[in-house]
Symmetry: C2
Subunit: 316 residues, 2 copies
């Protein structure tokens, strides 16, 4: 994706859009109402992302709660998204506990017209490295779509090493790696991204996740920001992304500091999921608690706090 | 289940068999062959447990890989087990990521004639305590079958506190708690079980899991040993259980020390799952790798080591 010779560049080299591996990839919620997929609310979320002009749309990732939905619902979400995406590339999260379901989801995503697949090694029994490699091989062998390796230790309890990134990057069909954001200094971020770029020989794009670190990841040379909050509040995240793509790192950092109270809420509530759902509810994008059971929304008091932070920050 | 007044007894008071909450509850593998449920091999495993005379049979738990199978396969496993169990009580593991699937599994278990349900709070997004309580409430409200709370932090990443055990024990329909085994001294085991018994007011049975600690857990007053290895090698585990039920703690400890090399293998391979599958293969109970993908069997070399330990110990 990116030439090895550019691995020490500090100014990122964005891939030509539209690509599911560059710029802002927005991860929408998959709202549930009365125990069923709320197709109307979901369609509204996609329309919002299209209107904002995000670079790609990625439903059924972690905030999209992919693993909680049946293969049938997941196929429906894939179809709905591609139908409304107005040509914006769509990445479909296909992670599931069984390889059988993962392959079913991959097939449905391809049938719907997705541009890429996102695969987290979902686990009940913690997986071995060999099992994870075989899982990615199973998908790349079965599907013609490019695959994004989704490294999310909080949800999968699997720890990828840089050596494993390198090994996976050699599999035909692996197109990108979604790395977890970390609280590093700008210099350490650059070293980290350069190290992954070198280890993977420039064969794959690199995307950063965990929204509080999106800006620093992009500034350090990541190709994409896989953004959970960008699926609900796309405009401010897009402004940060565009600033970085224009080489204006300092302006991007200023824009990225503004939502700090929001990042603090994510930390306080174990990530973006429940806070993101509360934001969507506050903005009238979903009706009431919209997460699939057993997941629940925040308490009324915590929802009120989220609403006040969103209003104070002027986010919408 | 057990009177509060007996909570400091050191000699366990077994419940009258047959009960899914007393004695040895054996957890069979759910063998897969060519990507499909191997019904013949599974039937053979159940027949073996019936012949050994275990106190209850619990398929689709952790070693039974319940969460990896489709609701249809799980219903089939429930039917097959009850049909062949010859009157031995059957507990069905119903854990799944979504509450919807959990309830579907509970209904299928009841329709099959199961005696109890075993529910682990399976997670992708780590669950909050409120979410776990609501999950158990959803199942006890929907099903007339008694429910065993399955505390398995390794697979669920959820940590139960004794206070939460107490809270759950007050829910009508919660009949037992399956606690994780720990490397404690006999005195600390007794204190732990007595503490849980007191906190739960004797309203629920207590079962111990993690096979290396099964004997000590029973000696300390647990009502049941929920045994993974007992699903594949029932006789030696039953001998330990019967010795404890007869009040012969020292003889039970001697019997339980004998398989120490096996417990060491479990530790070396992250639990009983992959070693258990290798044992079943070595004993000719399943054909080749029998775990559902992405889970894989041990390497050929590790399988050989398991086989030699089993042969040296004279286990079969």
């Amino acid at each position: 994706m990116t030439d090895v010779a550019t691995c020490t560049e500090t100014v990122p080299m964005p891939l030509p859009a539209p690509s599911p591996f560059a710029g802002l990839s927005a991860f929408p919620l998959t709202p549930v109402r009365d125990g069923r997929l709320d197709e109307d609310a979901f369609a509204g979320l996609i329309d919002r992302l299209v209107a904002a002009g995000v670079d790609s749309i990625a439903p059924l990732g972690s905030i999209g709660c992919g693993p909680y939905f049946s293969p049938e619902d997941r196929a429906e979400v894939a179809r709905l998204t591609v139908d409304r995406a107005d040509g914006i590339p769509v990445t479909i999260g296909i992670g599931a506990l069984s390889t059988r379901d993962v392959l079913t989801n991959a097939e449905a995503a391809a049938a719907a017209g997705a541009a890429a697949l996102l695969l987290a090694p979902v686990s009940y029994h913690p997986l071995t490295e060999t099992e994870v490699v075989e899982l990615f091989r199973a998908v790349t062998s079965a599907s013609g779509l490019p695959v994004i390796v989704y490294d999310n230790p909080t949800t999968t309890r699997f720890t990828f090493t840089t050596e494993l990134y390198a090994r996976l990057s050699e599999i035909e069909g692996i197109a990108a790696i979604k790395i977890p954001g970390l609280p590093l200094s700008p210099a350490d971020w650059q070293e980290r991204v350069a190290g992954i770029r070198q280890a993977t020989g420039g064969r794959v794009a690199i995307g950063v996740s965990v929204d509080a670190y999106g800006a620093e990841g992009l500034i350090a040379g990541c190709d994409a920001w896989f953004s959970a909050i960008g699926g609900t509040i796309p405009a401010p995240m897009l402004a940060i992304t565009r600033a970085i793509q224009a080489g204006e790192a300092e302006r991007a950092r200023e824009l990225a500091v503004h939502p700090q109270p929001l990042w603090d809420l994510f930390s306080a509530h174990g990530g973006s999921l429940r806070v993101g759902a509360a934001i969507a509810e506050h903005l009238g994008l979903v009706t009431g608690d919209c997460l699939p059971a057993p997941l629940k929304g925040l308490s009324t008091e915590d929802k009120r706090r989220v609403a006040s932070v969103i209003d104070d920050l002027g986010l919408s």
